[in-house]
Symmetry: C2
Subunit: 270 residues, 2 copies
C-alpha cells in the first residue's frame, strides 16, 4: 500500500501517551494509529539514561516492525533523553512531545513569563526551559514538579476537591510570579486541564503538549505528503508489554473513547 495509508505509531512507557493519541484522532481523524505502551517497564523517568535509550530503541523498532509511516514519542522522559539518538538511528520521521509544547509556549507568552509543570524526573532534566529558550531567549521560566498529579489522574480523581487543593498548592508559586503561559509538561496532565484552568484562572494560557504535538504531526504529514487520503474514520490498535487489571478503564479515560484491539506484546523482558 502507499506510504500515506500506513498507520502513525505512538509509544510511551505507559498510558500517558494516549492523550497524544486522543489529540491526533481529533486533528487527523482519517489516520490509523498503532500505540505501544511499555506498561511492563513503566515508569521510565526513574531509570538510568542508558536504560531509557535502550528501551526507546526497542519501542521504536517494535513500531517500525509494524510498518508505521511516522513515530510519535508520546513520553516526556524519552523525548528529553533519547530523541536525538532515535533521529540519528532511524530514517522515518520521529516527533517528540517536548519541542512542540516548548515552541508554543515561547511564541505565546506576552509577558515572557512561562510556567512549566511536570513529573519530578522531567523537571529535573531542565529540558523544557532549555527548549523554550531556544525559541525565545528572553523568557523567564518557572518550573514546578507536581508528583501528585500522575497518581491523581491514574486514580480518576481529576475534578475532585483533592485535585483542586493539590493544583492550588502546586500552582501558587507560579501564579505569584505572574506567569501568563503554563506548559502541561506531562502527557497525563491534559486530564487535569479543567482543574488547572479553574485554579490558574483565565489570564493564564494552558499549553497542552499533546495537542501541540498533534499539530506538528499534521504539519509534517502535510509537508511530506503523507496524509491519509481515506474518508472514513481511522482505526486504532493498542499493544502493551503488560496488561494491568485496571488498564482498559483508565486507558478509555485518557483516550476519551472506547478501546478494542488490545494486544499483549510479549517480546520485552519484564
Amino acid at each position: 500500500m502507499g506510504i500515506d495509508l500506513k498507520p502513525i505509531g505512538v509509544f510511551d512507557s505507559g498510558v500517558g501517551g494516549l492523550t497524544v493519541v486522543k489529540a491526533l484522532r481529533e486533528l487527523l481523524p482519517h489516520e490509523d494509529i498503532l500505540y505501544f505502551g511499555d506498561t511492563a517497564r513503566v515508569p521510565y523517568g526513574t531509570k538510568s539514561t542508558q536504560t531509557i535509550i535502550n528501551f526507546a530503541r526497542e519501542d521504536t523498532e517494535f513500531l517500525i516492525s509494524k510498518d508505521v509511516k511516522l513515530i510519535v514519542v508520546g513520553c516526556n522522559t524519552v523525548s528529553s533523553t533519547a530523541l536525538e539518538i532515535l533521529l540519528d538511528n532511524y530514517s522515518l520521521p520521529i516527533i517528540g512531545v517536548l519541542e512542540p509544547g516548548a515552541k508554543a509556549a515561547a511564541l505565546h507568552t506576552r509577558k515572557n513569563k512561562v510556567g512549566v509543570i511536570g513529573t519530578t524526573a522531567t523537571i529535573k532534566t531542565n529540558s523544557y526551559p532549555q527548549k523554550i529558550r531556544n525559541f525565545n531567549s528572553e523568557v523567564m521560566i518557572f518550573s514546578q514538579a507536581c508528583p501528585l498529579f500522575v497518581p491523581l489522574v491514574e486514580e480518576g480523581w481529576e475534578n475532585t476537591e483533592i485535585a483542586i487543593l493539590t493544583a492550588r498548592q502546586y500552582l501558587a508559586p507560579l501564579l505569584a510570579q505572574k506567569i501568563d503561559t503554563l506548559v502541561l509538561g506531562c502527557t497525563h496532565y491534559p486530564l487535569l486541564k479543567e482543574t488547572i484552568k479553574r485554579v490558574a484562572g483565565n489570564e493564564v494560557e494552558l499549553i497542552d503538549s499533546a495537542e501541540q504535538t498533534a499539530r506538528q504531526v499534521k504539519q509534517l504529514l502535510v509537508d511530506l505528503q503523507l496524509i491519509s487520503p481515506r474518508q472514513n474514520r481511522g482505526s486504532h490498535k493498542f499493544y502493551l508489554s503488560d496488561i494491568p487489571p485496571n488498564f482498559v478503564g483508565m486507558a478509555e479515560r485518557f483516550l476519551g473513547e472506547p478501546i478494542s484491539h488490545i494486544q499483549r506484546e510479549g517480546n520485552f523482558p519484564g
Copy 2:
C-alpha cells in the same frame, strides 16, 4: 570489638526505611545504626523480580562490608520478594518489615477483619494477606493500594486537608467492611499516622510495621545476646547511592531528628 558492639544495618530503596531507624532508635537507643538508601535506583517496586533480588544482594553485601551484626530490610518490596533468598545466602540475622506487621495484625484483630494499605506494588504481591493468614487463618483481609500516600508524605503534606480527604477516599471501603485493625504496609506511612487515625477513628488499631519490626529486632538481639552494653546514645550513619537536593530535609522528617554523617556510596551503577 565484641559482636554486640557492632552496628545494626538497615537498608531500603530510598528514604522510607528511615521510619524503621526512628523506631529502632526509640526502642534500642544504645545501638549504633548504619543506613543504606539506594536512592539512585529507587523505586524498587516497579522493577522485575530478578532485578530486585540483585539489588537486595548488593545492598546486603554493602552493609556486611561495613561489619554490621544484624540487617533490617526496611523495604516492603525487598521483604516480600527477596527475603528468603537473602536468608539462604547470608549467615547473619536478617529481618524484613513484612512479617512483624502481619503477625501483630493477626494476633490483634478481635473481629478477624484486617485492612492492609500499601503501595500498588506491595498490594499486588498479596504478601500481607498470605503472611497474616499464616498466623491466623480465620482473618478476612481487605487490601487497598494508596498510590497518593507516598508522594503526599514526600511533599511534606501530611496533616493537611489534602491528606485527610485522600485518606478518607482510600479508607472508606475498608471502614465499610468494619475492620478493627489496619496494617500500615509501607514504611512511608508512619508519617501519616495521625491523619489516618483521625479518619479511621478510635475503633481501628493501627499496626505500624516499622514499630513492630523494631520490637522483633529487639527480641532477636536479646535472644542472641547481641544487645549493645553501652550506656550512651548510639550513633547513626547514612550511606546513599545518590543524594537528591531535598534529601536531608525529607530524611529528617522521616527520622524525627537531625542528620549528620551522610555519605555517598558510589559503587552502585546509576
